[in-house]
Amino acid sequence: MSRLAALAGALFIACTALAREAAPLAEDPKIETRLIAIAEELRCLVCQNESLIASRAELAMDLKRQVREQIKAGKSDQQIRDYMVERYGDFVLYRPPVKATTLVLWAGPFALLIAGLCTVWIFVRRRRTAQGATLSAEQEARANELLANRANDASR
């Protein structure tokens, strides 16, 4: 029993020791949660397909430090995003604002989709008119004649 207690105690100490080691990251959980929320929406400029929060690049660490400082200084999320955009352009935002320069980015996929749907529609309509084509009396007579010939050939 006492051995168990000792083990539990040792584990507890180990756990708290671990927890202490991670402390600097979670200095203020509130700030960190906001940092994560903001930095998830920002692009790391060094490794461009990674978000700022995921990146371990040195510039990303510096930028996170900057964001953290601004949170501490009481800046709003929008002010912090503006700060980044002022320096690195709309490119840092994973959701850039809709404006003249980003119009193709936002509307492009929908334009392509509509163009695709139009193409499909044209094709379907053309096929339908082709199927619905009716034969003139002359053509029908000729067709019947050919079919009759064929039936004769088969029976022979």
């Binding site: 400029l45 461009q48 709309d90 392509l112």
Partner: protein, 172 residues
């Protein structure tokens, strides 16, 4: 009719994608072009004086971001040394996130093209200037407005084709 439209649409898409592939995604257009160069006051790498961009008012000048740990800077360096020898416009170095003694050693080893360098030890001024890939070079006009930014090394071709004509234009 419809077929022609499809062929035209297809080629338009191919051209769009081809242009997209040819562009370098690392070259992010800087929002700072046409804006005043962010102010700072930093100590010089050598000596005890401090420097602020406001001191350069009335002059066209270049700000080059460099570091001794930056491999590409070493490739760029001879180009800057040659450029400095022409004494065309002042060239100021921004020593970005570097160790002072390493930086000084680097300059004495490869030559010092800068009128002087200033020390941005923790990279804060770099962030103000939107630096994300050293080396970077800024052309700043007489009014202190950033006119051009080169991300990556300055090459002799770029100097000849872009930077020198721009300096001449700005000095008019």
């Amino acid at each position: 009719m419809g077929r022609i439209a499809i062929v035209v649409g297809f080629f338009a898409l191919v051209i769009l994608l081809a242009v997209g592939l040819k562009r370098d995604p690392r070259e992010v257009p800087s929002p700072l072009i046409g804006k005043p160069a962010p102010a700072f006051e930093l100590p010089r790498l050598a000596g005890s004086e401090r420097f602020s961009p406001a001191e350069m008012r009335g002059k066209v000048w270049l700000l080059n971001v460099w570091a001794s740990w930056c491999v590409t800077c070493r490739d760029e360096h001879p180009v800057l040394v040659d450029f400095a020898a022409t004494k065309r416009v002042p060239l100021v170095g921004l020593n970005y996130k570097d160790q002072r003694d390493e930086a000084l050693k680097w300059l004495s080893r490869f030559g010092d093209p800068y009128q002087f360098s200033v020390v941005d030890a923790d990279g804060r001024i770099g962030i103000d200037y939107g630096v994300y890939g050293v080396p970077e070079t800024y052309v700043i006009d007489r009014a202190g407005v950033i006119r051009f930014k080169q991300i990556g090394p300055v090459t002799p071709e770029l100097l000849k084709a872009k930077i020198l004509p721009m300096i001449a234009e700005l000095e008019k």
